[in-house]
């Protein structure tokens, strides 16, 4: 009980400190004892002005802040030019075909009209029948649903384990791809751009595409070679989703882009400097070999014990040749290919330069 009372007294004292201005706080600033107890009265105190504690963020540097005309001590008022312009990438719908969206690298196939539905395949009575009857049972008068049945049967035949297999995982994936491509073709050809059903059907396609990606992932875990065989035969691209969802935001990614650009600028300048030094090395090594040879000759003339061997001279020459070969293989374009955003600045010609050029 006594401890509890003491504690209450102690907290009161801290609250007293917290009420005062932070500058008057004996413990100072944010690390005060009041913040430890969880009392945050000082935030609402009139003495505590928010302006004193505004951090200099990237918004100030980019000039996008609402407080553009505010002067900050130690920071220039000049608005910095934005060197790399951030652009929001376009997000096509997942229902569309292609490697970027649904992963289908092939469209719904156009069928030979003389073919039959799968249930009439190998029917002897039909083969003996009249031509008109055969024509009625062909795909010439088939509905869209019939075409889908035909294609999904064809796809299943390509991947199934045995002729009676219509339930395995790979066959289910094959039938799903037929359904996806069928719906994609329908949306692209039959419906107008502002049709109401377009959105609804593409939502259903998206659901099927997601389901297929999950099933492909399961097959990948069970049997990798069959997974690759399936991608090849059905012509699908498999891209797993990233582990972390990332919201694309203007400010966050603009900062990230400038950081990336700066790091690549540093990388590029260092690599050019290294290239410059490296290109001076062969000349130096040849000079060294020449001087070593001179020393060796002098020592032989004077009858002294030679301190330089022939191997040492040869080593220098070999090294020079090796470096030259490496430099010949490396080009400026190769070094630039490693960089993602940075492009070398082209110097802008001034009016005086143009005048000089035209006169000469």
């Amino acid at each position: 009980m006594a401890q509890a009372l003491l504690g209450a007294k102690y907290i009161k004292q801290l609250a007293g400190w917290a009420g005062k201005s932070p500058l008057a706080n004996p413990l100072g600033g944010m690390d005060s004892a009041a913040s430890l107890t969880g009392i945050r009265q000082y935030n609402h105190h009139p003495d505590w002005r928010r302006e004193d504690f505004i951090r200099i963020s990237s918004t100030h540097l980019h000039g996008k802040s609402s407080e553009k005309n505010r002067t900050v001590e130690g920071v220039s008022d000049r608005q910095f030019p934005i060197i790399v312009q951030w652009e929001r990438p376009k997000h096509p719908k997942r229902a569309l075909p292609g490697a970027e969206a649904s992963g289908d690298l092939e469209a719904f196939p156009t069928l030979d009209p003389s073919r039959r539905l799968p249930e009439f395949e190998g029917c002897q009575a039909l083969e003996e029948a009249m031509d008109k009857v055969q024509r009625v049972f062909s795909l010439e008068f088939a509905t869209r649903r019939d075409l889908l049945k035909r294609v999904s049967h064809d796809y299943a035949r390509k991947v199934q384990r045995h002729p009676h297999d219509f339930q395995s995982l790979e066959v289910f994936i094959a039938i799903l791809t037929a359904r996806i491509r069928h719906a994609q073709a329908f949306v692209a050809k039959e419906l107008e751009e502002k049709n109401r059903r377009r959105g609804a059907i593409s939502h259903v396609i998206k659901i099927m595409v997601d389901q297929r990606r999950v099933l492909l992932g399961v097959l990948r875990q069970r049997d990798y070679k069959k997974f690759e065989f399936l991608l090849e035969t059905l012509n699908i691209a498999y891209k797993p989703r990233p582990i972390y969802f990332e919201k694309i935001e203007r400010e966050v990614h603009m900062v990230r882009l400038t950081e990336l650009w700066c790091s690549e600028l540093k990388q590029h300048r260092l690599s050019t400097l290294k290239h410059e030094f490296k290109s001076q090395q062969p000349e130096f090594l040849r000079d060294k070999a020449k001087k070593l040879g001179w020393i060796k000759a002098q020592e032989e003339e004077l009858g002294l014990q030679s301190s330089v061997s022939q191997d040492e001279i040869q080593q220098c020459l070999d090294e020079a040749k090796r470096i030259e070969d490496i430099l010949a293989r490396q080009t400026q374009e190769d070094r630039m290919q490693k960089l993602f955003v940075y492009e070398e600045e082209v110097p802008v010609a001034t009016t005086s330069d143009i005048a000089e050029l035209s006169s000469s």
Partner: protein
Amino acid sequence: MSLVQTLRSSAVLLGRVRPRIHSAAARPTKIKGPEYDVTPSECIVVGVPHLQFDPRLKRHFKHEEQVLAHDSTNLDLKVGDTLLLKKMSQPFLPSVQFEVIRLIQKFGDAQDPLTGDAVTAEDYRSHEHAVAEVYGGSGPFDYAQAPPRGRLEGTKDFTDKVTYYRWHKFGKKDDYSLVS
């Protein structure tokens, strides 16, 4: 404290190969990730699963820590393979403190540890083949003659490197980025 700091040298760990980060743009922005931007060429990323204690809930939770491992072996390691790691006494780089000892199991190509027979997750491959023969012959896929894994990497199979949401209209094309 991370797992790497607590271990002594020559400690052995079990882990799985994870996709490598191939460019600085592919690293996630907000999540506290590894200390490197791009995975070094001589190394692989390995996820080490272990239990982490939550002091508030007083319970252990599944956790995976990603470490870099130096791969000097000639094993053709692919994403998902299970392997054994060992902590080096002298690190290869400051961020690379582990080395690969041996491969335990290939991902998607499992074997029965007792008999050595090939299995899928559900069944023996030999049994699957026998069932197919009863139904009238096997299909177009032949496991014995199938080429080794990895021929579709970068064209149709994009699992070997990290995929990411594209956050800028980059001039250069990257197949491992997603837009939808």
